[in-house]
Every structure is written in structure tokens, then in C-alpha cells.
């Protein structure tokens, strides 16, 4: 009984649903404020994404006549659930919901693809030509960033695995324990290219400039989201915000983790603060200094620079550096 209650707490409150929503909306608000300041604007209040989300929840849902109704409504929820599930897997310093090492890195790779796939399914269910263009772009985006992302995770797994048993590990807990013992991963020079590669993957993963090709509002009216309204649109926006937090938090866990303190609440605050820093570097600054790339330029970019950086790290790690 106690166990079930504890798991319900994990899933619904922390580190699951409620925590994700609060952290995601906050980080989205902070990002908007930071970008605004860099653009000589005052910017919206930090809570603006929260207000937007709450407002959308109270709006009418209009379903296009040609839409596949069930799929259309289910897509955003599927995306949200997968993100909440990912959040359960990510350890925050010494806090993890698992006691033993499990192969959760592989699960995360799969689960992180689902929000993108949900966007594709929802867009194609809406039956709009703009969505048609948007989903084909989203597919190319997924193809582009998956490769460097997987290589980065592989590199980290190998690095930690070599220290443990000379093999490769896919456990985030093992990675965090390793960092608690040897210091943050970023301090090892052979991992720096991989860290840069992951920093470059984050903007495409969360769909922010210069890689927001799938939802380019100016070009294709937000693509897959063009027909969405009301709560489903709100949930998609929420997904977007949570994805920002999850990706930056994953970066913190993979590269900036350490022993942490004995207080979970303090650890969470440190994790969040570091996630804000990562957001600033990889999302806000990039958003402020670049123009939107075209889809083929995005593809070319990801299969050259981030992939090369990640491979460099992998080779270095394999050589035992």
C-alpha cells in the first residue's frame, strides 16, 4: 500500500507531473524574459506561459471537419505523458526513484522521440496543408538531431562504464554516482565536445530558433499546430515548455551533476538553477543571435558539426582518455 502511494507521489507530484509543469512553465517564462532583454524589449512577465496555458484550458476546442477526431485529441496527451515519464527517469543529484542501476538511458532515447512523433500524428490528423508541410519538416528534424544525441549518450555510457567494469553502462544512476565520485563530467576534457554537441541538439529538440522549422509561424503558420485550439493547443504548448526543462535538466544530470547536498529540496533548486543556465546558453542566446534555418540546412548542420563533435568525444573516450 505504502509502495503504491509512494509511486503515485512520484508520478503525480515529484519528479513527475506537477513538478514538470511548474518547472517547465517557469523555465519557458524565464527564457522569454531573457530573449526579450537581449532584443531591447521589456518582455512578458515570467508567469506569462502559465497564464497562456490557463487561458487556453478555458477556451473552446474546435475540431476541423476533416480531422481524425480521436487521434487529433489524443496526440497532445500522449506527448505530455511520455515527457512526464522521462522526468521520472532523470535523477536529480543523489535522488533517483530507482535503487539499482537500470538501463534507463535507452528508455529515455525512445521516450524523448514521442513528443515529436505526437506532433507529427496530431498534425497529420488535422488535415491541413500547413500541417502537412510541418510534419514533413518535423520528421527531418528528428532524423537530424537523433544521431548526435544517441552518440553523446553512448559516449557518456562508455565513459562511466569503463570506470565501473570496463564495459558500457546505460544507467543514469550509475552516471550520477560516477559524477558524485569523480566530479562533474564536464570537467573531463574529453567530454567537452560531447557537451557542446548536446547543447546544440537541445534547441532543435525543443523546437526553438534557429531550428524551429516545424512550427515556423511566419512560413507555415506554426505547421502542425495550425488547426489546434483550446486545451489541446494548451497541452502542446505545455509539452513544449516541459521539453525545455527536461532537456536542460538531462544535460545537467549528464554533465554538471555531482555529490550534491543532503537535502532533496536544495538539490532540486540547484538542478533548476543549472537548468536555467543551460537554457540561457543553448536556447535563449542562440534564439537571440540567429535567423531560422531552412530544413535542409538544419539537416546538413546536425549531420556535420554536432555529429563530428560527438564522434570526437566517443573516439577519445574509447581510447581511454
Amino acid at each position: 500500500m505504502n509502495n503504491i502511494l509512494q509511486f503515485l507521489f512520484y508520478i503525480l507530484i515529484f519528479p513527475g507531473f506537477a513538478f514538470c509543469v511548474v518547472a517547465g512553465l517557469l523555465i519557458a517564462g524565464i527564457d522569454r524574459k531573457l530573449v526579450a532583454r537581449m532584443q531591447k524589449r521589456i518582455g512578458p512577465p515570467i508567469l506569462q506561459p502559465t497564464y497562456d496555458f490557463l487561458k487556453l484550458l478555458g477556451k473552446e476546442t474546435i475540431i476541423p471537419r476533416h480531422a481524425a477526431r480521436k487521434v487529433y485529441l489524443a496526440a497532445p496527451v500522449v506527448g505530455l505523458l511520455s515527457l512526464v515519464t522521462v522526468s521520472l527517469f532523470i535523477p536529480i543529484f543523489n535522488f533517483s526513484i530507482f535503487d539499482k542501476p537500470v538501463a534507463d538511458l535507452i528508455v529515455i532515447i525512445y521516450l524523448l522521440t514521442i513528443p515529436g512523433v505526437a506532433l507529427i500524428i496530431g498534425g497529420s490528423a488535422s488535415g491541413s496543408p500547413y500541417a502537412g508541410v510541418g510534419i514533413s519538416r518535423e520528421m527531418v528534424a528528428i532524423l537530424s538531431y537523433e544521431l548526435p544525441l544517441v552518440i553523446v549518450l553512448l559516449t557518456i555510457g562508455r565513459k562511466v562504464g569503463m570506470a565501473l567494469d570496463g564495459n558500457i553502462t546505460f544507467s543514469l544512476k550509475a552516471i550520477v554516482d560516477y559524477q558524485a565520485q569523480y566530479g562533474p563530467m564536464i570537467a573531463q576534457w574529453s567530454m567537452i565536445p560531447a557537451a557542446i554537441a548536446l547543447l546544440l541538439v537541445i534547441p532543435c529538440k525543443v523546437g526553438s530558433l534557429p531550428f524551429d522549422i516545424a512550427e515556423a509561424e511566419i512560413e507555415i503558420c506554426e505547421g502542425p499546430l495550425v488547426e489546434y485550439s483550446g486545451p489541446p493547443l494548451g497541452i502542446f504548448k505545455l509539452n513544449h515548455a516541459i521539453k525545455m526543462f527536461i532537456m536542460t535538466s538531462l544535460f545537467v544530470t549528464l554533465f554538471l551533476s555531482g555529490a550534491g547536498t543532503n537535502f532533496v529540496a536544495l538539490n532540486v533548486l540547484i538542478q533548476f538553477a543549472l537548468a536555467v543556465v543551460v537554457t540561457f546558453i543553448s536556447i535563449s542566446v542562440l534564439k537571440a543571435i540567429t535567423a531560422r534555418l531552412r530544413v535542409e540546412q538544419t539537416f546538413k548542420f546536425y549531420w556535420t558539426y554536432p555529429t563530428a563533435l560527438a564522434l570526437l568525444s566517443l573516439v577519445l573516450v574509447w581510447l581511454g582518455l
Partner: protein, 366 residues
């Protein structure tokens, strides 16, 4: 989505309407992301200004044509006044002409910076957009300092200018120009050096010289394709022959060339304004504000507006109203090139390409 569009979806490969926030309907026939063909539909903003002008007297028409367009709201009354002055054979005082030119060039400056900001917004470069529009406020301040207005300046009267530029104002405007020039030079260096802007605009929406000549495009859009036409140089009017300035011409014909042209023209405009302010002749600014007596006659006046050549054909019958006025605006000529430029580009660039002609649909549909 209405039924007609759905039928078209079935019949053709796929049609997408460009998502530009202007009353133009560009229907794109696409294969994946590539535009195979395009059609442009115009005329959504018709207000019957030419007909209305036949019922107004010459002073009222000035106020009317000023409202043809919000951005080039000086070019229209300027050209109309030139036509009436020619029919009535009025000699416009030099000082009035200089003030007209100063306003025309300030208008070119604010129009070009407006477009450069919008172009940055269209390729998703919102920071540049914000910065450009930030210093564009300085131009608006100068316009307000001189005319008292930000949009419809009301500076033109038949036979001269309505407001004078006194010495105090001249000094102030000169100071503002100094800080503006720094900003424009900075903008020029940033726009021409930025890598993502080049990635998004080079070899996009190319209009070769031959096509540009064949379709008959004009203005900065034509000059970006190597068509060296500029009424200010080719057929100097008002007092443009008294200033020393260049007409930049670029051969590439892509969107980047259009950015370059407008940046270079902004620099030239500042040069003209400085000369005009420095050599501002003494004397009256107009011939009085009474309703002029205009004999029967006709005249075609031309002026290089920010978007290209604007032509006013005015026909009078000796009465107090226009018998007929006909307005030819540059956007009509430049908009005809859009389907040619769109072909074989991607949907991602469609909005940018349509916007690259610096369209003004309120002029176009008047």
C-alpha cells in the same frame, strides 16, 4: 477550408497559401517543400480613391492621395502636386522644393529600415528586427520634429511646402542624423556580415536581369537585378539635379541583393538630406495657400518613391476638381515578378520572397 480549395487540393499536387500578413493571395503549387508554380491574386483592398478624387478640389485631393498609402504618404501628394503645378505652370520656390526632397528622403529612410526589419523578422531573426526598428524611431522623431506627424505628414501644398524648417530645427535634425548615421553604418555591417542572414537570403528568389527587363520591374527591386533605373537620376525632377548622390545597382537579383540595395540606398539618402539641409535656400516656402486656378490640361508626373517609380496622370477641365487622375504604383510592377521568383524555391522562403519586393498593397489596390 472551403470546398473550392479542397477541390484544388485534390486536382493539383498540393496548394498552400503563403502565410504573409498582407492582403495578397499567393497560391503555391508545391511538391513537398518545393514550389512548382505560383499564382498571385491582388485587389482585396480596393477603396475607389481614383474615382473619389474626381469629386474633390485640388487641396482636398492632396489630403486624399496622402492616404493612399501609410508608408509612402509623402510620395503620393508630392507627385500629385507636381502634376498640378505643371498644368498650372506654377514656379515652386526653391526652399519649398528642398523641404519636399528632405521629406521624401526621410520617407525613403524610414520605409527601407521598416522593410529591413520586416525581412529579418520573416527569416526568424527577431533580434535584428527589434534593433532596426529601435533606431528607426530616430527617423520617426526627425519626421515628427519637422512635420509634427509620424505617418501622414501633411507637408505638401500646391506650390510648395506647408511647414518651414527653421535654423533651430536644422541644428536638431543634423544632430539626430549624426547618431542615425552611426546606427545605419552599424546595421549595414551587421546585415552584410551575418552568416545566418546570408544562408537564408543568398540565391533565394532569384530574378535574373533578362526576366527583370522583360517583366518590367522597377525601383530598388529592379536595381537589385541590375536594372539601372531611378527617376531621380534619369529624369531629375524638383531639385534632385542639385544633389550629389549615387544610385547603387547590384547584379545578383536574389533576396540578399535586395537587402544590400536598401541598405546602400539608406546611406545615400542620408547624404542627400545632409546636402539639402546645408544648402537650404532662403526665400518663401510656398505660393500661398489659396485654392489654385488650374486651366484645362493634363500632365504625367513621376517620382522615385521608396518602392520605385510612382506615376500620377492628372487631367483637369478648367474647373475646381480633377477630371481624372490615374495612379500608377511601383508595387504593381514588382508584384508581377513574384510568380517567377517563387518557382523552384521552398515554402520556407515563399513569405520572404513575396515580401522581398517590399509590397505595399494599400498603394497597389488604392
Amino acid at each position: 477550408m472551403n470546398r473550392r480549395l479542397n477541390n484544388e487540393l485534390r486536382n493539383t499536387n498540393r496548394t498552400v497559401s503563403s502565410s504573409l500578413e498582407e492582403p495578397i493571395h499567393a497560391k503555391l503549387y508545391t511538391e513537398g517543400e518545393i514550389i512548382k508554380d505560383a499564382e498571385v491574386f491582388i485587389g482585396y483592398n480596393h477603396r475607389g480613391i481614383e474615382k473619389l478624387a474626381t469629386q474633390k478640389n485640388f487641396i482636398q485631393t492632396l489630403a486624399l492621395v496622402e492616404r493612399v498609402c501609410g508608408i509612402c504618404s509623402h510620395s503620393h501628394p508630392f507627385t500629385y502636386a507636381m502634376a498640378i503645378e505643371n498644368i498650372a505652370q506654377m514656379e515652386v520656390p526653391k526652399r519649398g522644393q528642398y523641404i519636399r526632397v528632405i521629406m521624401a528622403e526621410l520617407e525613403r529612410l524610414h520605409s527601407h529600415t521598416l522593410w529591413l526589419g520586416l525581412a529579418c523578422h520573416l527569416i526568424g531573426f527577431d533580434s535584428m528586427f527589434m534593433h532596426i526598428w529601435d533606431f528607426r524611431e530616430k527617423i520617426m522623431d526627425i519626421l515628427e520634429e519637422i512635420s509634427g506627424n509620424r505617418v501622414n505628414y501633411g507637408m505638401i501644398i500646391i506650390g510648395g511646402s506647408r511647414r518651414d524648417i527653421n535654423d533651430d530645427m536644422r541644428r536638431k535634425v543634423n544632430e539626430m542624423l549624426d547618431s542615425l548615421e552611426v546606427d545605419i553604418i552599424k546595421m549595414r555591417d551587421m546585415l552584410l556580415a551575418d552568416k545566418t542572414i546570408a544562408m537564408r537570403t543568398k540565391n533565394v528568389g532569384v530574378l535574373p536581369y533578362e526576366d527583370a527587363i522583360r517583366i518590367g520591374t522597377i525601383g530598388p527591386h529592379g536595381r537589385a537585378s541590375g536594372v539601372n533605373v531611378d527617376v531621380r537620376k534619369d529624369a531629375p525632377y524638383s531639385c534632385y539635379d542639385e544633389f550629389d548622390f549615387e544610385v547603387p545597382v547590384v547584379q545578383d537579383g536574389d533576396v540578399f541583393a535586395r537587402v544590400v540595395i536598401r541598405v546602400l540606398e539608406s546611406v545615400e539618402s542620408i547624404k542627400i538630406i545632409r546636402q539639402a539641409l546645408e544648402n537650404l535656400p532662403e526665400g518663401p516656402i510656398n505660393l500661398g495657400n489659396k485654392l489654385p486656378k488650374v486651366p484645362a490640361g493634363e500632365f504625367t508626373a513621376r517620382h522615385e518613391a521608396p518602392r520605385g517609380e510612382v506615376i500620377y496622370y492628372v487631367n483637369t477641365d478648367g474647373g475646381q476638381t480633377n477630371y481624372r487622375i490615374s495612379i500608377h504604383v511601383p508595387t504593381f510592377k514588382t508584384a508581377s515578378t513574384v510568380p517567377f521568383m517563387l518557382k523552384n524555391n521552398t515554402i520556407a522562403d515563399a513569405g520572404l520572397i513575396i515580401a522581398s519586393i517590399d509590397p505595399c498593397f494599400s498603394c497597389l489596390d488604392r
